[in-house]
């Protein structure tokens, strides 16, 4: 007879693992990835490949040579970071810029804190913000999509970039807003990074995550609710100066950020209450940056700022305990 296994209870497990969770996130991102490749062509594919590969390699190298610990790349969190980072970059970004972004994301934002689970800031966003402030030219020069087999590229600005330009020059924004058609924003057609291209593809992925119970909707709904409410107030106050709620919800990293980046387990609060507060913070800060800041987009900054409040939110908001009213 073989030796019996003995362990304390429980003796069974859900079977859900960190790897399976991360795999689900990758699957959820796939629709948007596919749409962006179709839309932007091989350049986008290159950005994705460089980003994912450099993230994986970096994590492997750091665990092996610097931390001298067993490798953690099997948990696929580096893949998710790489994908999210790539989806935040224009498809024209040179490969070495992407590698630098990956170095910051994995090396500084993740591994220097102790690896998965220990990092205070979302690595992909930290990487993106690092690139945004270090290489603004590469990060803000957008070319209109040319497609997989498309014609010549046309240089252009993202909707948020155009608005920001107009506001800085004290022009009315209503004409710019009206030049965008919400339908194309929802499906595909506005300029920007892979993560901005198709709201529908991203939302489909998010619904997948919700159905698989990988994420909970509180953070996302709270961000959207805040953005809708606050921008509605501003827009009613001055439609010439401030953009409307629908525009704000559909542009920039709003969907990618709210669905995939703000909901990152490690850098978001544990309790539902904490998540709601966290979401309100992100929504509000994003809008303030969009309306009054010099950057056209504020999602990344907002998430990073609110990341820093997570330990505090975890301290303040706890689960409701049984029999301890």
């Amino acid at each position: 007879m073989n030796k019996l296994i003995v362990s304390p209870s429980p003796h069974i497990h859900t079977g859900v693992s960190t790897t399976s969770l991360m795999r689900d996130v990758v699957i959820a991102l796939l629709p948007a990835v596919i749409v962006s490749v179709i839309f932007y062509g091989l350049g986008e594919l290159l950005v994705l490949a460089v980003s994912v590969l450099s993230c994986i390699l970096l994590e492997w190298a750091i665990t092996k040579y610097m931390l001298k610990k067993p490798s953690t790349i099997c948990d696929m969190s580096a893949v998710v970071t790489g994908l999210l980072l790539a989806m935040n970059l224009p498809y024209t970004t040179p490969w070495w810029v992407i590698v630098l972004g990956a170095v910051f994301a994995i090396g500084v934002a993740k591994m220097s804190f102790g690896g998965l689970g220990q990092n205070l800031f979302n690595p992909a966003i930290a990487g993106r913000v690092f690139l945004l402030v270090s290489f603004p030219t590469y990060m803000t020069t957008w070319k209109m999509p040319q497609g997989l087999f498309g014609a010549d590229a046309i240089s252009g600005a993202t909707p948020l970039g155009a608005i920001n330009e107009a506001v800085l020059q004290h022009q009315s924004i209503s004409s710019i807003v009206s030049s965008y058609d919400y339908g194309s924003m929802l499906f595909a057609g506005i300029g920007g990074s892979a993560g901005e291209i198709s709201a529908i593809a991203l939302l489909a992925g998010f619904v997948y995550l919700l159905v698989r119970k990988v994420v909970k909707p509180w953070t996302t709904l709270s961000i959207w609710g805040t953005v809708a409410l606050v921008s509605l107030l501003f827009w009613i106050g001055n439609p010439d100066r401030f953009t409307d709620p629908v525009f704000n919800l559909l542009t920039g990293g709003m969907i990618l950020g709210a669905c995939f980046m703000a909901t990152d387990y490690v850098t978001s609060p544990m309790s539902a209450k904490g998540c709601v507060i966290y979401g309100i913070g992100i929504g509000f800060i994003t809008l303030m940056i969009r309306y009054f800041g010099s950057y056209p987009e504020g999602m990344s900054f907002a998430i990073l700022i609110m990341n820093a409040t997570v330990p505090l939110l975890n301290r303040w908001f706890h689960q409701k305990k049984y029999g301890r009213a």
Binding site: K3, L4, I5, V6, S7, P8
Partner: protein
């Protein structure tokens, strides 16, 4: 331009002075008067905060020692007699000397001699395993080998030998703080006198099972046969609950028990010469024979007298 500089310097100086006065005032107001000897005592303590003395840390030890004014309840085994002498000098009292001690493991159930009967698959902590069941081997008293003692040792004196699966005490690093004694769920560690030149005798087994069961579980087990206790001429060995125990205060390090132990459960360490078992056995047999003869003679004498 020069005026700006002068103004800046002036303003900063004044602000600095004001703050200095304020700070001085605060410092005076909230001053905590403390016996200066506490700091002195803490200064000579090793500062490991190991808790081996029974206090939360070195500071707590110092506070308590100064407050008590004597060292009856206070002994820092880490610093040893040298540090205690310094503390006694600070407090102006006589030092209490203690014999140097060392932690000793009382299990020799190596992987080779103690077969496993099942596989533990829970949290790798001896205490967790011990609270669940008796362990992977048939011996319910032996080392579990998961190293709670190693984790508890603040002085790096313990390590698990991968060959035997048992912890090894580095006797030079061990400070006899007692944390392993408290941690081990099987109570396998004991603080024993370091011994002359480190020489000491230990029964490396705590198995309370009856002989055959103990032997079946582990080839190195003490089977409680009692040969050692009968042999010992110093009355240092007691056999209780099917296992022998050597009282280190009585042991004279003659090593007779070690030579006679049928299972090799008794170990002498740091002896300069290897033990010549046969010679010792002969010596003991000779002595026993003489004793028997003497007893017989005494018996016949007394018989004669009564007759």
């Amino acid at each position: 331009m020069s005026q700006t500089i002068i103004w800046t310097i002036a303003v900063l100086t004044v602000v600095g002075l004001l703050l200095a006065v304020f700070l001085w005032f605060v410092a005076e107001k909230f001053k905590v008067v403390e016996d200066p000897r506490i700091d002195q005592v803490e200064g000579v303590l090793p500062g490991a905060n190991c808790g081996g003395c029974g206090y939360a840390g070195c500071r707590a030890f110092a506070e308590s020692a100064v407050k008590a004014g004597n060292l009856e309840q206070h002994y820092c085994s880490v610093g040893g007699n040298a540090v205690m002498k310094q503390i006694a000098d600070i407090l102006g009292i006589a030092a209490v000397e203690k014999t140097r001690q060392v932690a000793v493991l009382r299990c020799n159930g190596t992987c080779e001699v103690r077969p496993t009967a099942n596989t533990y698959d829970g949290w790798a902590s001896c205490n967790a395993e011990a609270s669940l069941y008796t362990g992977e081997t048939m011996c319910a008293f032996g080392c579990l080998g998961l190293g709670d003692c190693v984790a508890s040792c603040k002085f790096g004196a313990l390590s698990i030998d991968p060959q035997t699966g048992l912890p090894v005490v580095d006797q030079e690093k061990c400070t006899a703080c007692g944390s392993c004694v408290k941690t081990c769920p099987k109570h396998l560690f004991e603080l024993r006198n370091y011994g002359p030149k480190g020489m000491r005798m230990v029964v490396t087994c705590r198995n309370e099972d009856k002989g055959p069961a103990a032997k079946k579980a582990c080839a190195n087990a003490c089977i409680g046969c009692g040969i050692c206790a009968k042999t010992c001429t110093h009355d240092a060995i007691v056999v209780e609950n099917n296992r022998a125990y050597i009282d280190y205060t009585k042991c004279k390090l003659c090593r007779e028990c070690e030579a006679l132990c049928p299972t090799g459960a008794i170990h002498g360490v740091n002896f300069p010469k290897p033990l010549d078992k046969e010679a010792v056995k002969q010596r003991v047999n000779e002595r026993n024979r003489k004793a028997r003869e003497a007893a017989l003679a005494a018996k016949s004498e007394s018989k004669e007298e009564t007759a």
